[in-house]
Symmetry: C2
């Protein structure tokens, strides 16, 4: 008799971002060129400082580091928080993790017990669903709409959140700027959410891995800059997006709540440390001149504009220009974007090329929502994005007239 796997693992959804990759690999093998707009993988070169630091490593033994993280890397992050966000932190307010993903895993495990609840504006980063399911935590969604630019329901945003609080609610989880929406909360919205957390004794988990990418001169307010909520806020941070270094897998938990950091440290000890060389490289990244980030930000803004303009001209597509991050969520004229994605990989090409996107259904907790929406990464070269939009337009047209007929 083969033993059964756990219920919690069965409850974890497959990634809507990565789940289609095997199909894309088959398309590649069949000779198609695939444009990968499904994943937030920028094509901006990683700063050379990373590779130089790694190459200069000269210890004879690649040894374990401390569970807390490389002191140079922690120090660099503290400096950035002080200089860019005006927040004074101590080393014990920071824990180095294996990417923002591990930071999120540890945070959810530290804040929530099985059957606890987190309130999450939807659509949300699909991995939240995986992490919460794995941890046995229920996501209680607050639905936001394309029409509102995916901001909180404007009529009464506080009530929209507070009406979801139950005795099992442990906190509010959100990405800011939003993934997949690109929404950047105003200072008023940030304060409003923090007030709800303080008033109701909740945690506020703010995934701010995209905070360097806010466009059109908008201001950005980090949740961790609010003194009045400092015991409530846990920030998830990462080098991946900031420095085009997704493969480094270096992230951070940042919180001024001492209990949270003490408990997170036990989980950190249970996995030893994050990789030594990647931490050496990441510490060097934080010395990269500010002009790098400024350049990348204006480049990403232009890329966003390119893709938005191209997508807006496709019949039946609805979108709001994202305010930050590097994704575009859009409604497209098909009933089931998951089926359309499979078809794009298996049956369609435009002169040998096709496009992989992330169907948005897996970014919602409310059943049925997002079936006609997709997420596209905007952080690729403008020519690639323009070509991808062209392929999508042709795909949508062909899909409408394929055998079988209706969309």
């Amino acid at each position: 008799m083969n033993p059964p796997v756990s219920g919690r693992s069965l409850a974890v959804p497959a990634s809507p971002i990565r789940g289609l990759i095997p199909l894309a690999e088959r398309a590649l093998k069949a000779g198609k060129k695939v444009h990968f707009l499904n994943i937030g993988q920028p094509d901006v070169p990683t700063p050379k400082e990373y590779f130089e630091a790694v190459r200069s490593f000269s210890e004879p033994v690649l040894a374990y580091g401390g569970s807390h993280g490389n002191p140079a890397l922690v120090g660099a992050l503290l400096r950035v928080y002080r200089e860019e966000l005006g927040v004074s932190l101590l080393p014990e307010h920071v824990l180095v993790t294996a990417g923002g993903s591990e930071a999120l895993w540890f945070t959810v495990m530290v804040l929530c017990d099985p059957e606890d609840e987190l309130i999450v504006p939807e659509p949300f980063y699909a991995n939240y669903a995986a992490v919460c399911a794995g941890a046995g935590v229920r996501i209680v969604p607050v639905t936001t709409r394309t029409e509102d630019g995916y901001h909180l329901p404007p009529s009464d945003p506080a009530a929209a959140v507070e009406s979801k609080i139950t005795p099992r609610t442990k906190g509010i989880l959100l990405s800011h700027p939003g993934n997949p929406t690109g929404t950047v909360f105003t200072r008023e919205e940030v304060k409003l959410l923090a007030d709800v957390a303080v008033r109701s004794g909740l945690f506020l988990i703010a995934d701010e891995v995209y905070r360097d990418f806010v466009y059109d001169g908008r201001p950005f307010t980090s949740f961790c800059s609010l003194e009045e909520a400092k015991e409530h806020v846990v920030v998830i941070d990462s080098v991946s997006k900031r420095y085009s270094a997704c493969g480094a897998r270096i992230g951070f938990i940042v919180s001024r709540n001492r209990s949270v950091m003490e408990q997170a440290m036990k989980f950190a000890q249970s996995r030893g440390c994050t990789p030594t060389l990647e931490q050496v490289g990441a510490a060097a990244l934080y010395n990269v001149p500010a002009s790098f980030l400024e350049g990348v930000r204006s480049e990403y803004q232009a890329r966003r504009d390119t893709l938005c303009r191209a997508m807006e001209t496709i019949p039946g597509v609805t979108l709001r220009k994202p305010e930050g991050a590097f994704y575009l969520s859009a409604r497209i004229p098909v009933e089931d974007t998951q089926a359309f994605a499979v078809w794009m990989m298996e049956e369609f090409d435009l002169d040998g090329e096709t496009v992989l996107f992330a169907p948005l259904e897996g970014f919602y907790a409310t059943p049925g929502l997002g079936r006609d929406e997709i997420r596209l990464c905007t952080a690729l070269e403008k020519e690639t994005l323009a070509r991808a939009a062209e392929i999508l337009r042709a795909g949508l047209e062909a899909y409408r007239y394929r055998k079988g007929g209706s969309a």
Copy 2:
């Protein structure tokens, strides 16, 4: 009102291996030299192939890898399993993880729901307690004794395990060779445990990260070589110990159970991937000539001999020479080795030097056991080990005569 952290995080014990490091850091600051025998950090140089491969990486973007792992690294592991263990595996039987630690986390989450039980011979690797507590899984210990060389109770080993099975038992978890015991199961013991698993429909999680270090010409039987139990066995593997590359944080889940691997893949997707550069380096490690491992094995055997000989001459110390891995567990003549460890950091030195070891209490699940035992790492240079034993001898003598008096 500050929100409270989760019950599961409070249940996670602090690491008995890493928890004393802050005290050691204070001792270092106070000018003492500290010999770190608490952690399994060998001082054998990492093969140069690792650093050469990392230095040769020439992609401009440090991009996400696949969640499954770098194909070259997976291929290298398959070759090693075929050539060294005679086991034919497919790529989908292997998942690259962030060290053996992440492999263990995923495995426990995939096999067990909260309140499930794992049977674990004690003393066991202390992190098992942390991972199981975090996952809400109860460790049901089978106590082994120094007198039996920490093998299963010899009178009726099958009954010792089977008597612990309840309706909540999902599997048996063990390290093989043993950490902290160095025990290497005979082929009969391996088969016996596999038979119990098959007969009772249990998983068998075999942490074989030390399998390259088996001494005195003993044979080693990998749990994954048993065809009859192939649906039951999950092996945890790692480059850390094999290649003296603990800081690389590259490990593996190896299992021929398709459901286990499918579920583990969802957890792997939830964290993106393991670091790109470290995987490039690790793949190169598996091309290091076999002579490296042979050399390290005989060196570690000699180091073990050095430490055992030195420790055996200390009055009141009881030990059995470990058969594998690179730890020595020993009973020492103090009542509470945790308190003794603190004292060694804070109040003792021999000519300015002291020794950090891991108190063994945290390696037992049965309350009260292990309080007079310690674990020492044997994978350091012979001179270091001899000196550490000398310091320990002096420390034990001074401790006996310190203010207060009794041991």
